[in-house]
């Protein structure tokens, strides 16, 4: 649902999206310590597959996006993870166009990084608080992605508030379910493997 297809965005935004996402991916890659590569790989494949989990909702269906959860688990590394996940989704599943990949990566990756910051900043120490913060981060990720989607489509000549309203209303069930899924996942990880919730170490640590 939340993928921009080929030919929707003007050329300048397409190229700009690629430039911004290439820069962010390089920054993100610099922030990954080699010991964290397996964790990044697992979260990337979870993100890649989550888009196939369809939630029936009335006449239509929406699918999970999980930028919030990826951000909470990976922090700055989430951008690279989401970019790779989106690349493979667009090649293998035909989700979103290959020319719009840069814009799609910005649309999903930047909210993920923001959610990662949000989670690390507010997670506190108790398991319950971590679960609640994780759930909020999950919901926030989808909300921000919808807002970014509206912002990008505005450059294609759409009305920002109109698109934002439609995207947010269409994603209300997804936002709720993402929040619940992320909250439970983070609560579970906080109980069994709290080390996974520590911020990803940077390359120079």
């Amino acid at each position: 649902m939340m993928h921009i297809s080929d030919g929707v965005l003007p050329l300048s935004v397409t190229l700009g999206g690629y430039a911004v996402s290439a820069g962010l991916a390089a920054w993100s890659a610099r922030r990954i310590h080699s010991r964290d590569l397996p964790k990044v790989a697992v979260v990337t494949s979870a993100f890649f597959v989550a888009s196939l989990v369809h939630i029936p909702f009335g006449p239509t269906s929406a699918h999970l996006l999980l930028p919030g959860l990826a951000g909470a688990l990976l922090g700055p590394a989430a951008f690279l993870s989401i970019g790779l996940g989106l690349l493979l989704q667009s090649i293998l599943f035909q989700f979103g166009g290959i020319t719009a990949l840069g814009a799609n990566a910005v649309m999903m990756g930047v909210p993920a990084v923001i959610c990662g910051w949000f989670f690390q900043h507010f997670k506190g120490r108790t398991i319950a608080r971590q679960a609640v913060t994780g759930g909020l981060a999950g919901a926030l990720g989808t909300v921000l992605s919808a807002v970014f989607l509206a912002g990008l489509l505005m450059t294609g000549g759409e009305d920002f508030f109109g698109v934002a309203k439609i995207a947010l209303i269409a994603h209300v069930p997804v936002i709720v379910i993402e929040g619940v899924v992320s909250g439970f996942t983070i609560g579970f990880l906080a109980r069994v493997k709290p080390a996974l919730l520590l911020p990803v170490r940077s390359f120079h640590d």
Partner: protein, 97 residues
Amino acid sequence: MTRMQKGLTIGLLCLFLAGLSGPLWAQAPPENSTGEVIALLKEQNSALSRDLRQIQREIAALRADLDKPGVKDVFAGIGYIFGLFGAAAFAASRRKG
């Protein structure tokens, strides 16, 4: 009566019936062979077109299914991800060693 004569009679009968005007047909439903044949043909026609429509619907559903990513695509993607990160880990370990 020879066979030829019989055929001729039936043919004449058919011609006569074909010449009958519409309202007469409407008043009395056809009790004869031509009417039956036409009814049968119509029935078969509608049955065939019903089947055809169903087949077309099935083809459309199949095409929609083909567009959906299958298990193969999912595992291909997971393989790509692990492979790429494995290569990255290998490069990182070489750089350190």
